[in-house]
């Protein structure tokens, strides 16, 4: 009863320890892959920060000014991220977490529970920011040859800097949950977050950051930074953190802003704690109520599907899959981000100014057509691992319904295949055809790429469905399924497949283009070679598609063992 609040964090610590101890198939490969990518990203951030800081040093006062603004801007970006992350995390840790039923039934003082949950919220909401921030600050420190004091100040600045926005986020969540049902609030937040991310992606691309790298645009750059210096900026913790670190970089200590950070952090915790003591239980109680959920009946969808030439079983499976997907905000909202990325992708090809290379533009355009094809292949693999690979796992604990019904597992899996194929094929065909159209590539390459996408879609969707059936995770959400051993295995195989396809298509296409540029007809042996390469690409695609589907059906049947 008198346990202190860190005691309440023990279950999370033990669970993490048990997860770390647990050995599962694919741990090594997953660790190497994710660890490797993480290291590369951290190294790039470190190197980027180091290079930029070293460059700015040569501008003397202007360099210092830009560095100071840069730090403030960096913290401002993280501030908004932390506040939003705090809202979402607090919703889960304070209101939706399953273990709250046990904790709230125990004779625990509200304050102790708040402290434990708040520490957890801060940790969960800010770990990603810390991981990104650490290499950046290390790069800046190294470039300025900062001493150990700078790194100590960095740590002591980051803690209150993370606490303040997360406390604000927690307060917002408390108010939200007292206004809306918790699950509805989560859906609204998820949608808002993804819309925010999607618009950010589009906005960042449309301001064309590559322009900022040009020397002649340097005045614009300073203007750009200067606009961030609005009158309210000095009131924000991001400004205080930036100033504290900048002072530390120059060997001094900015006690004013350092104290502002810590006192505000303490004050924020005290205010949120008071609000929590006043409104938490009411909010939690509301979160337990499950009023009739609002949703769309999607009757038009049923009407459309009825027109498709499908058997009753396949029609019902399709309707079920589509309705479940479209009614789950956490599922369909990710499509918004995908659409933003597609827009950026096409925009890149639109603004690609290849005409600047007078003699080579024709060759470069056709080379870019293969870059486009490869990129479309990778987009296809990414979309497939997120949306198609979890198709079998998404049946979840309700899979018994399919397995006890008179539907063959083969029919079931093929239904999943067709449901996944149509959107993946449509998306990547649009990307490829539109990209090649913007580039103005040779008609032969255009046609070949469009046809290649058809074969690649069949192969990769088949591979995703087959591996998804071989390595299902019925108790995980689709994002976790995509990151599981099977998901990683799929990505590796998919990337290899795309590379093989690019080689098999690119080589004969280059022969064709080369001969055409020289205005020499193709020889018989070249024609045979080209046909052989294209036939091999088609055969590999068909073999990947069919063998994956067969092995998926076998794996589903073996589940009964």
């Amino acid at each position: 009863m008198e346990a202190s609040f860190p005691y309440l964090l023990l279950p999370s610590v033990w669970a993490s320890r048990n997860r770390a101890r647990r050995r599962q198939r694919g741990d090594l490969i997953r660790g190497v892959m994710f660890g490797g990518v993480g290291l590369i990203v951290c190294a790039a951030l470190f190197q980027g920060a180091y290079w930029l800081t070293a460059q700015l040093e040569s501008y003397e006062d202007l360099g210092d000014y830009l560095l100071r603004l840069g730090l403030s801007w960096l913290f401002l970006t993280f501030l908004s991220f932390l506040a939003f992350s705090g809202v979402v995390t607090a919703l889960s840790t304070f209101f939706l977490s399953e273990d709250l039923r046990v904790l709230l039934a125990a004779p625990l003082p509200v304050r102790r529970l708040f402290h434990a949950r708040f520490v957890r919220t801060v940790a969960q909401a800010s770990w990603m920011v810390v991981i990104f921030l650490a290499p950046v600050l290390m790069g800046v420190g190294r470039a300025r040859c900062a001493g150990a004091g700078f790194y100590a100040v960095a740590v002591l600045t980051t803690i209150p800097f993370a606490v303040i926005p997360v406390a604000a986020g927690t307060l917002v969540t408390l108010l939200l949950v007292n206004t809306f049902p918790a699950r509805r609030a989560r859906d609204i937040l998820m949608l808002m977050g993804l819309l925010f991310a999607a618009s950010l992606v589009v906005l960042l691309r449309f301001i064309r950051p590559e322009q900022l790298m040009k020397v002649e645009s340097l005045p614009d750059l300073t203007d750009f930074f200067a606009t961030l210096q609005s009158p309210i900026t000095p009131m924000l913790p991001s400004f205080w953190a930036g100033e504290t670190l900048f002072a530390s970089l120059r060997g001094g200590v900015d006690w004013l802003h350092f104290a502002a950070l810590w006192t505000t952090a303490f004050a924020a915790v005290v205010v949120v704690r008071m609000a929590n003591e006043r409104w938490y239980f009411t909010g939690y109680s509301r979160a337990q109520e499950s009023p009739k959920a609002r949703f769309t009946q999607l009757r038009q969808l049923e009407a459309v599907v009825r027109w498709l030439p499908l058997s009753t079983v396949r029609r019902q499976l399709l309707i079920k899959d589509l309705k479940i997907f479209l009614r789950d905000v956490s599922q369909w909202s990710q499509l918004l981000l995908l659409m933003a990325l597609v827009l950026v992708y096409l925009y890149n090809f639109r603004v690609l100014d290849l005409e600047r290379i007078p003699y080579m533009s024709g060759v470069v355009k056709n080379v870019y057509a293969f870059v486009n094809l490869g990129m479309a292949g990778f987009v296809m693999a990414t979309v497939a691992v997120r949306f198609v690979f979890p198709a079998v796992s998404s049946e979840g604990a309700a899979f018994w319904i399919i397995r006890t019904s008179p539907v063959s597992l083969r029919d079931f899996l093929w239904s999943k295949f067709w449901t996944g194929l149509v959107p993946v094929l449509a998306l990547t065909e649009v990307l490829t055809i539109a990209g090649n159209e913007f580039l103005g590539v040779d008609p032969f390459i255009k046609m070949m790429a469009a046809l290649a996408i058809v074969f690649m879609s069949f192969a990769l969707v088949g591979l995703a469905i087959g591996l998804g059936a071989r390595y299902p995770r019925f108790n995980a959400d689709p994002t976790q399924v995509a990151g599981s051993y099977g998901g990683v295995a799929f990505m590796i195989q998919a990337v290899l497949f795309v590379i093989v396809m690019i080689v098999l298509l690119g080589w004969p296409a280059s022969i064709y283009l080369f001969q055409r540029a020289r205005r020499v007809p193709l020889t018989a042996s070249q024609q045979i070679l080209m046909t052989g390469c294209f036939a091999s690409a088609a055969a590999i695609s068909i073999a990947t598609w069919l063998t994956s589907m067969r092995s998926g059906v076998r794996a589903l049947r073996a589940m009964a063992d």
Binding site: Q297, T312, Q316, L317, A397, A398, W400, I401, P406
Partner: protein
């Protein structure tokens, strides 16, 4: 014979969960399947439903061998699992229409599924929830929805795993009435339960399984006679409880006083 299983065996590595179980359920019979936790009840029922593959033995459902002709066997069988996991993002009506579709029931024409769906929802007192998402259903409502799905396609045999878990007294009464009516119409029901008064009240015959083997079978009276000789029973369910405990090796009740 609606459900017939012969020498059914299921092993997991060295562990034998079901060891040579044979039983049959006649049309119109309600057959109780009792046993302590971990005795092999759910494993046996899951094998009959086609969720698990037997290591050895044969399962015949309404004349269809489950191993050779699984689709015909499943088409004539209804299965009600112990935990009602269903698609949370479908409405009650949509779930039933989907389930009917899996059993080949069309949306209209000769096989009007809409009427049948409403009929089943009314029968299980879920009519006003037809257009509500399953995620807003209580456990008992989900259980009743799964039952309405199991009876939707008019199966000739039904396998039920713990039907009364999570049901309120009204729901339990309803389920008992539905099962009785179905059995009167010739539906064979094989039901596992821990509620011995339900078994006594409803079952024509009972099989008791322990450590993967059937150790006793018969009507309630025949089982009583097995343990109490020809002493007449007077205390109903309690008597069946002691029969069950005697057959399955006692309960260690004597230790409770010491612990409490």
């Amino acid at each position: 014979m609606s459900i017939a299983i012969h020498d059914l065996v299921k092993t997991y590595g060295q562990f034998t969960a079901v060891n040579g179980v044979s039983l049959d359920v006649q049309p119109g019979e309600i057959h109780g399947f009792l046993g302590p936790n971990g005795a092999g009840k759910t494993t046996t029922l899951r094998m009959i439903a086609g969720l698990l593959k037997p290591t050895a033995g044969r399962i015949v459902v309404n004349g269809h061998d489950l191993a050779n002709d699984p689709e015909s066997a499943k088409a004539s069988l209804g299965f009600i699992p112990d935990r009602p996991y269903i698609y949370e993002k479908l409405t009650g009506g949509e779930f039933l229409r989907f389930h009917g579709g899996l059993f080949g029931m069309n949306g209209g024409g000769e096989n009007p599924i809409g009427d049948r769906v409403r009929e089943m929802l009314e029968l299980f007192e879920l009519g006003r929830w037809e257009n509500e998402l399953v995620e807003s259903f209580s456990h008992g409502m989900k259980q009743r929805l799964v039952m309405s799905a199991a009876f939707l396609h008019r199966p000739r045999a039904v396998v039920v795993d713990e039907p009364m878990v999570g049901l309120d007294p009204r729901g339990a009464r309803l389920i008992k009435d539905v099962f009785r009516k179905m059995s009167e119409r010739g539906v064979a029901i094989l039901m596992s339960t821990h509620t011995l008064e339900v078994a006594e009240e409803m079952c024509d015959r009972i099989s008791i399984i322990l450590k993967g083997r059937i150790i006793a079978r018969g009507t309630v009276d025949e089982l009583r006679a097995l343990t109490a000789g020809d002493r007449p029973s007077a205390e109903g369910a309690e008597e069946l409880t002691s029969v069950f405990l005697k057959l399955t090796g006692g309960s260690g009740l004597q230790e409770i006083d010491e612990i409490v």
